[in-house]
């Protein structure tokens, strides 16, 4: 398959680009941040996302979605990245939808997927428990009690966790933290008894929460996928999220680059446009090269998820490792090329730096994914 967008995907990109630029520009993020909107996103915008088919991009038509693939989800995510749009796209349309699609029973799918596609509910995936993404270290306990399970433990860095109607929770039903065996995913209502949530306002003004589970009772049919054998499902879902997030990062880096290029072509010092200086030209050209190489890895990862998902893990690791690293370079160079203006809140470039830092950390940073590649290659 050619590593370029086909005609339909290009049309989708153009649609998403103009839609996001008009409905969810950076100014919209500033407004959410400055007004300290409790939800952290615009429910009206999310309804529009559903209307455009973005909320149901991965969901088959039978369940009310538009039945497209991961490349298309990445196309939307890249435009989200370009505009720093605060939306539940990743948490709900990508992670929660993928969990249900890959692990859900017919009843679970029928109950939730149409609501996701329709923009009626927000979902969130609760995995991390420590400061770094380490899924196999899951310790949150799910103990068999009566006809179901009782959950005890705490999750952190749960994107959209405080507004989620549905939580997908990685829990330990057997084994020890550090073991991949013994994990199970559960569907838990956001307002279930014993769930307490703290919104954690993050550096990038995007949503995250700490979620505590204190004797939370769920029925046996709340288990999503196999009991004790949930690691494989979790990895599959995480890999979808990582690849789509890599696409978002590619958009963040691409836009940060474009903003900085516009700046160096306009700003004058020493009687010259600063873009004339070779010091900045070479750094710009190097950065452009890094971003292009990342772009190739991201589309390869998304295409592989569509065509042969069983082969996707290492390619996704490459894409997320690359996207994190090259986007970090883009935002650092972006602030530096803006000089003192880059340090001000008035210029957007700093917002790109903040989002890049969070998205780098989310679902495993560049080191995490390089380590995964090394392990997959036996060293």
């Amino acid at each position: 398959m050619a590593l370029v967008l086909n005609d339909e995907q290009t049309m989708l990109r153009d649609t998403a680009r103009s839609f996001l630029a008009s409905e969810a520009p950076v100014a919209a993020l500033r407004q959410l941040r400055d007004a300290n909107v409790a939800d952290g996103f615009s429910r009206e915008l999310w309804k529009q996302f559903a209307g455009m088919g973005f909320a149901g991009v991965l969901i088959p038509e039978d369940f009310g979605g538009v039945g497209l693939g991961h490349v298309e989800a990445g196309v939307v995510a890249e435009e989200i990245g370009r505009n720093l749009a605060a939306t539940p796209f990743l948490s709900t349309a990508v992670l929660t939808a993928s969990a249900l699609l890959n692990g859900g029973s017919d009843a679970q799918k029928a109950a939730w997927l149409p609501k996701i596609a329709g923009g009626e509910i927000i979902g969130a995936l609760a995995v991390d428990e420590g400061a770094k993404h380490r899924p196999e270290k899951t310790a949150l306990q799910a103990t068999r009690t009566g006809n179901g399970f009782t959950l005890n433990g705490a999750k952190t860095f749960v994107v959209d966790g405080h507004v989620a109607d549905l939580l997908v929770v990685a829990a330990r039903t057997s084994g020890q933290p550090g073991e991949t065996q013994g994990l199970t995913l559960f569907l838990v209502a956001g307002d279930a008894g014993g769930v307490s949530r703290e919104r954690t306002v993050m550096v990038d003004a995007h949503n995250a929460a700490r979620v505590n589970f204190d004797n939370v009772q769920v029925d046996a049919d709340a288990a999503l996928g196999p009991v004790d054998g949930g690691y494989e499902l979790l990895e599959r879902v995480l890999n979808v999220g990582r690849a789509v997030l890599a696409a978002e990062l590619s958009g963040v880096g691409g836009q940060a680059f474009d903003i900085a290029q516009a700046y160096v072509k306009e700003r004058s010092q020493f009687g010259r446009i600063i873009g004339e200086f070779q010091a900045l030209q070479h750094r710009s050209a190097h950065l452009f090269s890094e971003l292009e190489v990342t772009r190739a890895a991201v589309i390869k990862a998304l295409q592989t998820l569509d065509a042969s998902p069983e082969k996707a893990a290492t390619i996704v690791a490459v894409a997320k490792a690359r996207a994190g690293a090259s986007t970090e370079l883009a935002v650092q160079e972006g602030v530096q090329m803006h000089g003192g203006n880059g340090m001000t809140d008035a210029f957007d470039i700093g917002l790109y730096m903040k989002r890049a830092r969070v998205a780098q950390e989310l679902l495993g940073d560049s080191n995490f994914h390089a380590d995964r590649l090394a392990r997959a290659n036996g060293y």
Binding site: A2, I273, V293, R295, L373
Partner: protein
Amino acid sequence: MADLETFRAETRAWLEANCPAEMRTPTEDEEDTVWGGRNPTFRNDAQRVWLERMGAKGWTAPEWPAAYGGGGLSRDEAKILAGEMRDLGCRSPLSSFGLWMLGPALLKYGSEEQKKKYLPPIVRGEIRWCQGYSEPGAGSDLASLQTRAEDRGDHFLVNGSKIWTSYADKADWIFCLVRTDPKAPKHEGISFLLFDMASPGVSTQPILLISGKSPFCQTFFDDVKVPKDQLVGIPNKGWEIAKYLLTHERNSISSMGGRAHRPVHEVAAAHVGLNDQGLLDDNLLRGQIARLEVDEIAFEFAMERAGDMAKRGEIHGAYSSLLKYYGSELNKRRHETLMASGGSDALEWESDRSEHGAAPRAWLRTKANSIEGGTSEVQLNILAKRILELPGA
């Protein structure tokens, strides 16, 4: 798609039947490759057989038209062939400046007679070509070249000198930039000539490099007579061909950045060892290798993507500079990491054990990657000017 799957199955079957086992191992060093020519050298019979079989199918040049000896494959078929060769570990049967550089230029600018005469022997590896571009006074500023070709009626008379001519002492023919109009502005008086290195007046002098080897020569032309039908394209308009060919040279240099060779982590595991958890027994080196391999894999995708963009006519003309810059820097990094992975074993210069210093000699050779075919700094200038459109670049 069904046709492509049939092609894949047939290709795999053919490769399994025809690629000798010895040709399914990674190449050890630059001398372990086959360059062909009038007097070819083969390390073993497998190299000869593999070249003959692939050459006969035209698969040394999979996408060239069959009329000129090529494989006549579509891009999708060529991708499948490359993928199957990679999966089976098949070596490239032929390394050749004819394949990488001259052929694409002839396909675009050559006359029908020139294509018929020169391309098939390139495909079969029968004529080994070298490149007469740089001169002692014309390196990064290539267009200031001074080698002259005077029009003497039925022939050109060539005088001058070229430098960094790779394997000039082993090559059969040369494609050469010469100045045919000394009065014209420097880009406008250049022509593109082909001639036999056995012509009277041609001599070569190998240059000893820091690797202890002499892959490059200085080449001298002293009243060399070149028939006029060996000029490619339009007289005095050779700079356009020169630039076109350079994009292919850049692509072939950038392809060194891929994973065609033995993975670095295998070398490291052999010399450094694994710990009781099965991880490389050097934490920081392990991280260095992992980051390198992330970039190597991603760069392969970048080359694949560039080919796909080119096929759709969606690629910027200066994109080859991006690949050349990135691939050559990556290959240098790969060899720095290989040296760190080999430790003191990789420092031996003469022993049989070290294959006469294969690792350090290859490492030193890669330092030219970011110089030859236009330095990294020249590539960055090209990107800044032509793609980023930065002012004054």
